[in-house]
């Protein structure tokens, strides 16, 4: 307490130092005067008395100094002086300051942005929930160990029987239409179990969330909705009286019971939902039939659970697994071999983070590389400046300044630079953070991504840490140099410049060498990613995505029932078929290589005995007869679907399988006519389609099958509509809109895009990684070039005299040119050799990073093939050498054009 009070007073003293000085001077003066008085009284002469008084005082100046140090905080005072001095230096060398601060801002800004994303996606994925450390994701596990969502009946069993969990909630992201008739908005929301908010620990901002009475599993009983703060502000002007009113959602009136807390944005990281509706409203909202809610096979709910206080994830996982295993036996008809597990939030394969985790890790690594290059650059600049300031430093040393004190000043100055850089970087960080949505493929995912870009405490802390790290990294070497200044040698050198020691030159060379090395690593990375991306792009998808317009319909949001939806598709296809410029029309549930998860069905195949625990879930698509011809996927055997393969009781259920399916299940048999069981009935194989790509371009073709839209399409399936055109696909968009309006003015065409663009989604992580690496690689290259240039320019300036002598002795400009460039290239080569090993190691590590778009938890490699492509290493090294030559060229030309006479006369 006392110490604190003293500290506060001393801090205050810092700002009143002049007043304190005057006060103490007066006190000392009165002390001396009184002492002198006593001396005179004792018989001394006034002069002698005063002299004695001063002697006894022990030196007025020393006393003043000690008193002053006690009155204020000397280290803080020094720091303020250093800062003031550093600021003055910064202002006096604007170009130096600009280069240093800007490069630092780039380095720190990029790193902080990457951290903001990682923080949002991985470290603090959910906002507005209580105690997120106890929240985990609940996933069902297939016999093959793949993670899949859960069914509602399984959820009920988990919810009612698990003792180590405080609660489990399930949720299903869903597009909803809000508003009446033709001016409806499409809004993304979550259909959730009643206890959703309770499990997550969300607080309402206005009104209430769901009540325990509304947690029940009774379909259609709770026509209520909770809206997000964002939606409340943008659509209801933050009017609290909205609570209790109804809003039309999917043409049904739902009562708004409350607004969720502003920081809450749903149960998926970096994704912002606006509506939360009890899952039990599915039948009324989406005309999903009630039996589907009771079907254990209907695994489409994402699970999120809260562990009890003090329970570890392993304990909870063990309890869950035991229960799931018992359930797999009890419900063997649908769940044989199934299990369940708990995952930390960030490991969930659903939502954007499955896509982002891999690229973000790499991004962070590259950002740190760039930051290191920036630090090396700034260290170089500081070293160069330290040479210029050597005279100042030697003078101060000679006057008695401590070396530590000088080193501290150099560090303070570098901290000032990095601090300014960090401040500038932090200003642009929130703005750059928004770019996260460009890392997501176009379409619903991109609209959903929302990042809380306000800098929060952990981001600020990270930026401060990076700033101090950069200050140390850039300032330590120059500071140590000051500590090693040789006083007598410097003073004896008589103020001639250009005699900086070899040691320092070597130091700067090492710094530049490491810059080159780091730049090579980033360049190789950029090359590998770009190359991997290109290779994947060149893979033939097995269908023709050119000249196809894709649009998606959310007919359920228009209150259509199943028959109406099928009828809508049939009539729209009919109308479009006859439109000018249209060659084919088709519709299906899933889009190949799209970003939506692909669905599957568990099959029994006549004449095929599954191995024990073999996963018989096979990916599928539900298609109209026009689909395969439109996609240019040939039928290699049998026939295509026709309009006769319909829901009529007389027409048998039929199926088309792909070649991989035949190889896996029907090897050596005639596939046509084989009976296959799925969706509770038997299908007959009528055709075999050629293999194509379904989820990732890089995948090895899985078994796959198609069933007719009219026989299998169900309420909870998606609806994608394709139109193949003669010309540009966009040209038929207006026709499509007009035809849709002609059928039903309330239906809106959403997300219409050329199929070619849409399937780019499956390549998105690779594309993102490639473009990020290219951008950062260019920055790294530029920085390394600047570093190399500054070192060479400086060394030429230093050696002006020497070069003059050489030329006076007959060296040709060409020789000088070669000498200087040779030196620069030697530096570069040193860096290259050092980094080759590093680059190969890093490429190996990166090659193992993968991403997932939740197709049964399968994932694809981010890098594609060819992590060891030697050409890329050679090309990167060659490119770097070219840039290095260029960076040396300018100073070399200056050196070669030196007039020997002038150079010799210098100084």
């Amino acid at each position: 307490m006392r110490q604190l009070r003293a500290l506060a007073l001393r801090l205050r003293g810092l700002f009143r130092s002049r007043r304190g000085d005057a006060d103490f001077a007066a006190e000392l003066e009165s002390h001396v005067a009184m002492h002198t008085d006593d001396g005179i009284r004792a018989g001394l002469t006034p002069q002698e008395a005063r002299r004695q008084a001063l002697i006894r005082l022990g030196g007025a100046e020393q006393t003043r100094q000690v008193h002053r140090e006690r009155r204020t905080l000397p280290w803080l005072e020094d720091l303020l002086n250093d800062l003031r001095y550093g600021l003055r230096m910064m202002v006096r060398n604007p170009s130096f300051t600009a280069v240093a601060v800007l490069t630092l801002a780039i380095g720190i800004g990029a790193t902080t942005t990457a951290f903001t994303w990682i923080n949002g996606v991985l470290l603090q994925p959910l906002g507005g929930v209580a105690d997120p450390s106890r929240l985990v994701v609940l996933e069902s596990v297939t016999p093959n160990g793949e993670w899949v969502p859960n069914s509602y009946p399984d959820f009920i069993d988990f919810r009612d029987r698990l003792k180590l969990l405080d609660g489990i909630a399930v949720t299903r992201p869903s597009a909803l239409s809000v508003g009446r008739e033709d001016h409806a908005d499409r809004v993304w929301g979550e259909l959730v179990s009643g206890n959703f908010f309770d499990v997550l620990g969300v607080k309402p901002e206005v009104g209430r969330l769901f009540l325990p009475a509304e947690f029940a599993d009774a379909p259609g009983k709770f026509p209520i909705v909770v809206i997000s703060d964002r939606y409340w502000r943008s659509h209801f002007a933050a009017d609290p009286s909205i609570v209790g009113k109804t809003i039309p959602i999917n043409q049904r009136e739902l009562t708004v019971v409350g607004v969720a807390a502003p920081s809450f944005h749903g149960s998926l990281p970096v994704t912002a939902f606006d509506l939360w509706i009890p899952y039990m409203e599915q039948p009324t909202l989406n005309s999903v039939q009630e039996w589907m809610l009771r079907n254990r096979h209907n695994r489409n709910m994402l699970g999120i659970a809260r562990m009890k206080q003090g329970v570890t994830i392993d304990q909870a996982r063990g309890e869950l697994k035991a229960l799931a295993d018992r359930m797999a036996i009890a419900n063997a008809d649908v769940s044989e071999g199934m299990s369940a597990t708990l995952l930390p939030l960030w490991k969930s394969p659903h939502g954007p983070q499955g896509l982002l985790v891999g690229p973000l890790r790499i991004l962070m690594g590259v950002c740190i590389l760039v930051l290191l290059i920036v630090c090396a650059n700034v260290a170089n600049l500081l070293l160069a400046r330290a040479t210029v300031r050597e005279k100042e430093f030697t003078a101060r040393l000679a006057l008695g300044a401590g070396r530590a004190r000088l080193a501290r000043q150099v560090l303070t100055e570098s901290l000032l630079l990095t601090g300014s850089g960090a401040a500038l970087g932090l200003i642009v960080t929130p703005w750059m953070s928004h770019a996260l949505k460009y890392l997501m493929p176009p379409g619903p995912m991109q609209q959903l991504v929302a990042m809380d870009t306000r800098p929060n405490l952990s981001v600020l802390g990270f930026a401060a840490g990076i700033c101090i790290f950069a200050a140390l990294a850039a300032g330590l070497v120059p500071a140590l140099q000051v500590g090693r200044l040789n006083l007598s040698a410097r003073l004896n050198a008589g103020g001639r410049s250009g005699t900086a020691g070899r040691g320092r030159n070597r130091l700067r060379s090492v710094l530049v060498g490491s810059e080159v090395a780091l730049a090579l690593v980033t360049l190789v990375g950029a090359g590998l990613f770009a190359r991997g991306f290109q290779t994947t792009m060149r893979i033939d998808p097995g269908f023709d995505p050119n000249h196809v317009l894709l649009s998606q319909f959310y007919l359920n949001t228009n209150g259509y029932n199943l028959a109406q939806r099928k009828e809508f598709c049939r009539r729209l296809a009919e109308r479009m078929q006859s439109a000018p410029g249209v060659t084919d029309v088709a519709y299906s549930d899933g889009v190949p290589l799209g970003f939506e998860p692909s669905w599957w069905e568990e099959l029994k195949i006549e004449g095929y005995a599954p191995r024990p625990n073999e996963n018989m879930s096979v990916f599928r698509n539900v298609i109209s007869p026009g689909y395969l011809p439109l996609m240019h996927i040939p039928i290699v055997e049998g026939r295509n679907f026709t309009e006769q393969d319909n829901e009529d009781e007389k027409s048998p259920a039929v199926m088309i399988v792909n070649q991989a399916f035949v190889r896996r299940f029907l090897a050596g048999r005639d596939p046509i006519g084989t009976r296959i069981h799925g969706w509770g009935s038997w299908f007959r194989v009528v055709g075999v389609a050629k293999d194509s790509k379904y989820h990732y371009l890089g995948e090895s073709t899985p078994a796959y099958f198609y069933v007719p839209f009219r026989q299998i399409f169900r309420e909870d399936m998606n609806l994608a509509f394709y139109v193949r055109t003669k010309g540009e696909p966009d040209s038929v968009l207006s026709t499509l809109r007009a035809q849709v309006r002609g059928l039903d003015p309330n239906v809106t065409v959403f997300d219409a895009a050329p199929l070619k663009e849409f399937i780019g989604a499956s390549l998105y992580p690779q594309k993102v990684a490639a473009s990020l690496m290219t951008v950062l690689g260019s920055i790294a290259l530029l920085l390394a070039a600047v570093g190399l240039y500054s070192v060479m320019a400086y060394s030429v300036a230093q050696r002006t005299q020497e070069i003059g002598v050489r030329m006076a002795l007959g060296a040709q400009p060409g020789h000088v040119l070669r000498m200087v460039i040779g030196q620069g290239l030697a530096l570069t080569a040193g860096g290259l050799i050092a980094s080759a090993v590093l680059a190969i190691g890093l490429a190996r590590a990166v090659a193992s990073v993968s991403f997932t778009n939740s197709a049964m938890g399968s994932s694809a490699k981010l890098l594609g093939a060819g992590a060891n492509n030697p050409l890329i290493y050679l090309a990167a090294a060659g490119f770097l050498c070219a840039i290095a030559t260029l960076a040396c060229w300018l100073p070399a030309r200056r050196a070669a054009s030196i007039d020997p006479m002038q150079a010799l006369r210098m100084e």
Binding site: A6, L28, H31, M34, R70
Partner: protein
């Protein structure tokens, strides 16, 4: 050197507090002379060292100062004990006594045993 100063500062602070308690408000010069006298002139104080000690005590709130007139009508800064200073004096004096007692046991020859 540093250690010695610490000990010295501690004891000097105690002397200052004690002197102020006995004599009431005093200026720096008076304090210095008084401390010398009390020590029987065994202590040859560098008067300059007194002032940082006074400042420290003032910052810690044990004494306060104000400008006033000396007995010879000179302007001088007077120091006096605060309540916290009184308490601190009791505490420090007790501690000091204990310390000297302990030290005495070490330093006196063990002939009594």
């Amino acid at each position: 050197m540093g250690e010695k100063t610490d000990v010295w500062q501690g004891t000097l602070a105690l002397m200052v507090l004690r002197t102020l308690e006995t004599l009431g408000p005093l200026h720096g010069y008076g304090l210095a002379r008084r401390i010398e006298q009390t020590s029987g002139d065994l202590l040859q104080l560098n008067y300059g060292t007194l002032y940082p000690a006074l400042l420290k005590l003032e910052q810690e709130g044990f004494i306060r100062s104000r400008w006033g007139l000396s007995e010879n009508n000179r302007r001088a800064k007077f120091y006096e004990l605060t309540k916290a200073g009184h308490r601190q004096l009791q505490k420090a004096a007790a501690e000091w006594e204990q310390t000297t007692e302990i030290l005495a046991r070490f330093l006196t020859p063990a002939h009594e045993a």
